[in-house]
Amino acid sequence: MVSRKTLIFWFFSVIFAGLLPYLISLYNLHISIYVLQNIIIAVSWNIVAMTGQMSFGTAGFFGIGAYTATFMWELFKFPTILNIFLGGFLAAVASLIFGLICLRMRGIYFAVTTLGLTEALRVTLIMVHAISFRPLGTSVPVMFGGLKQYAYYFILIIGLASIITEFKIMKSKMFYAFTSIRTDEDGATMIGVNPTRYKIIAFVISSFFIGIAGGFYPFYRGYIEPAAVFDVSISIVGIIMPLFGGLYTALGPIIGAIVLTILSEKLRFFLTANQLIYGLILVIAILFMPKGIVGSINSLREKYPFLFPKAM
C-alpha cells in the first residue's frame, strides 16, 4: 500500500532525526526536543479533531501525565521511564472516564467542558499543595543524569510512535468512521457507525500520547508546578499547529509543529515584539492558507501541475 517514494522519504527523515544530536548545538538540541514534544501534542489533537471534536483539554491531560509521573516518583521511586508511561496510562484512563460522560456532547459544548476540565484540575492541584503544606513547585531528578541526547532519543521514539499511530489510523477502517462522524454525525449513525464509541477511541489514543509528553516534562526540566503544566497555552498551541500545517491531514500537524516551534524560538530575537510578530504571521497564514500548508500545497498542485514532478 505504501509507495516506495514515501518509504524512502520516511527512511531518510528518521535517519536524519537520529543523527541530529551529533550535528547541532546543545541549544538547538533543546529546541528539537521542544519541537518533538509539540509534534506529539499536535498529532494527538489532530486525531481527536478528525472525529469532529474540538478539544481545549490538551493541557488537562498533559498535566495529568506530568503530575502522575511526579507523584509516582515521589511515592514509589519507580524508574523514570516507568513513571512517564504511567503518566500516559493514567491520562488515557482519565480521558476514558471523561469521554464516557462528555463525548455525547457536540461542538462548542464539548470544547467548553474540556476547557473547564483544565482549569478545574489546575485549581485542584494548587489546593492539594495548600492542604498538604507542600511548596507549590516540586523538584524531580532530571532523566538520564541530564544527558540531553538520551532525552532527545526518548522523546523521538514517542513522537515516532504517535506519528505511526496517526498514519495507521489514516489507513484503517477507523479513518472512515472518524471522517464520517466529523462530516455528518446523523448520516454516520444511519449507516451503522456508533459515534460515541469512535470519539472515545480517538480521545483515549490522543490522551495517552499527550500524557506521555506530559510525563516527560518534569523529568526533562527537573521541576514542575501546576501553572506550568495545566497551562491553557499548551492547549492553544495544540490547536494552532495542526491548523497552520493542515487540519485533518496526516502531515499537517507535524509540519505545523516544526515550523511554528522553530519560528517562535527564532522570534525571541525581537524581544518584546516577538508575540506581536508571531501573532501577525499566524493571522496572515490563516487568511491566505485557510487549509494550512498541506492544503495549500495540494491546491497549488491541482492548479499548476507542472510545478510538481510526477508522483510527489
Binding site: S172, K173, Y176, A177, T179, S180, R182, T183, D184, D186, G187, A188, T189, M190, I191, G192, V193, N194, P195, Y248
Partner: protein, 241 residues
C-alpha cells in the same frame, strides 16, 4: 413472512399530534409507498422506525424483534437502512469513501476487511450508476447524483429493509426513469422497500400505496380510498366521493 410490523404507533411533539395509532405491516419483498400531504407524519414514521425519535406509545417489530428503544446504529446493524429527504453525504470524502463507510459499519461489521468493503462499495456504485464519479469529492456532485449517493450509502449497509424518503423528489424525467429502474433492481435483489414519495407516477408504477392521514385533522378521516392509475389531484367525482 412479515418483516416489519408496527402497532399503534403514536408520537406527539409538545402537544402537536404527529402520528396517532399508526399500524403497518410489511411483508418480505414488498414495495410499499407511504403517501399523504405535507405534515402527515411520513418522515416521522421513518424517524421512529430507525430510532432517531422515540415513540410515545406503540411497538415496532422487525422480524419479530422489538426495536423500539434501540439506537440508530444498532437498528442499522439489524438490517434496516434509510435515506434522508435532505441528503446527508459526507462532503469531505470521495463518492467511493462515502459508500465504503456503509460497507464497513453496516450489517456485516467485524467480518469485513477494508479491501472487501471497497469491492462491495464498487459493486453498489455500479448498481446506482455512479461508477464514473467514484473519485469525485461528494461536495462536487450534482443534486441528482447526491440522491444516488444517498441511496448507495444506504444499500452498502446490506439491509433487508430499505426506507427511502423522497429519493425521487426534484429529479428530471430522465433521472426519474433511471431511478425507478434502479429501485426495481434493488427490489429484485430481495430487498424490501418502503418509500415516501410525492411523485405519484413512481408510486403507482412501483408498488402498494398507503395513504397517511394528518393526525391533527379534527374530522375523523374517511377509510382509506382505493387509489388506482392516476394522480391524487383528480376531482373528487372521479375518485367516487
Amino acid at each position: 413472512m412479515t418483516l416489519l410490523k408496527i402497532n399503534g404507533l403514536t408520537k406527539t411533539f409538545g402537544g402537536l399530534r404527529a402520528i396517532l395509532n399508526f399500524d403497518l405491516e410489511v411483508k418480505k419483498g414488498q414495495i410499499i409507498g407511504l403517501i399523504g400531504p405535507n405534515g402527515a407524519g411520513k418522515t416521522t414514521i421513518f424517524n421512529l422506525i430507525t430510532g432517531f425519535l422515540h415513540s410515545d406509545s406503540g411497538v415496532v417489530y422487525f422480524k419479530d424483534k422489538k426495536i423500539n428503544n434501540l439506537k440508530p446504529y444498532q437498528i442499522c446493524k439489524l438490517g434496516i437502512s434509510r435515506t434522508f429527504q435532505l441528503v446527508k453525504p459526507f462532503l469531505e470524502m470521495s463518492v467511493l469513501g462515502n459508500v465504503i463507510v456503509g460497507s464497513i459499519y453496516g450489517k456485516n461489521e467485524k467480518k469485513i476487511s477494508l479491501m472487501n468493503a471497497e469491492k462491495n462499495a464498487i459493486e453498489i456504485l455500479d448498481l446506482v450508476k455512479l461508477m464514473s464519479k467514484k473519485n469525485v469529492l461528494a461536495s462536487n456532485l450534482t443534486y441528482g447524483d447526491k440522491k444516488r449517493l444517498e441511496l448507495a450509502k444506504a444499500l452498502a449497509t446490506n439491509p433487508e429493509l430499505l426506507l427511502l424518503d423522497e429519493v425521487m423528489g426534484g429529479l428530471n424525467p430522465v433521472e426519474l426513469s433511471e431511478f425507478m429502474k434502479i429501485i426495481k433492481d434493488i427490489n429484485y435483489n430481495g430487498i424490501t422497500l418502503v418509500l415516501i414519495e410525492h411523485v405519484m407516477q413512481a408510486i403507482m408504477e412501483l408498488g402498494v400505496p398507503i395513504p397517511l392521514i394528518p393526525a391533527t385533522h379534527s374530522d375523523p378521516w374517511r377509510p382509506p380510498i382505493p387509489i388506482h392509475g392516476g394522480h391524487l389531484g383528480r376531482s373528487e367525482a372521479t375518485l367516487g366521493f
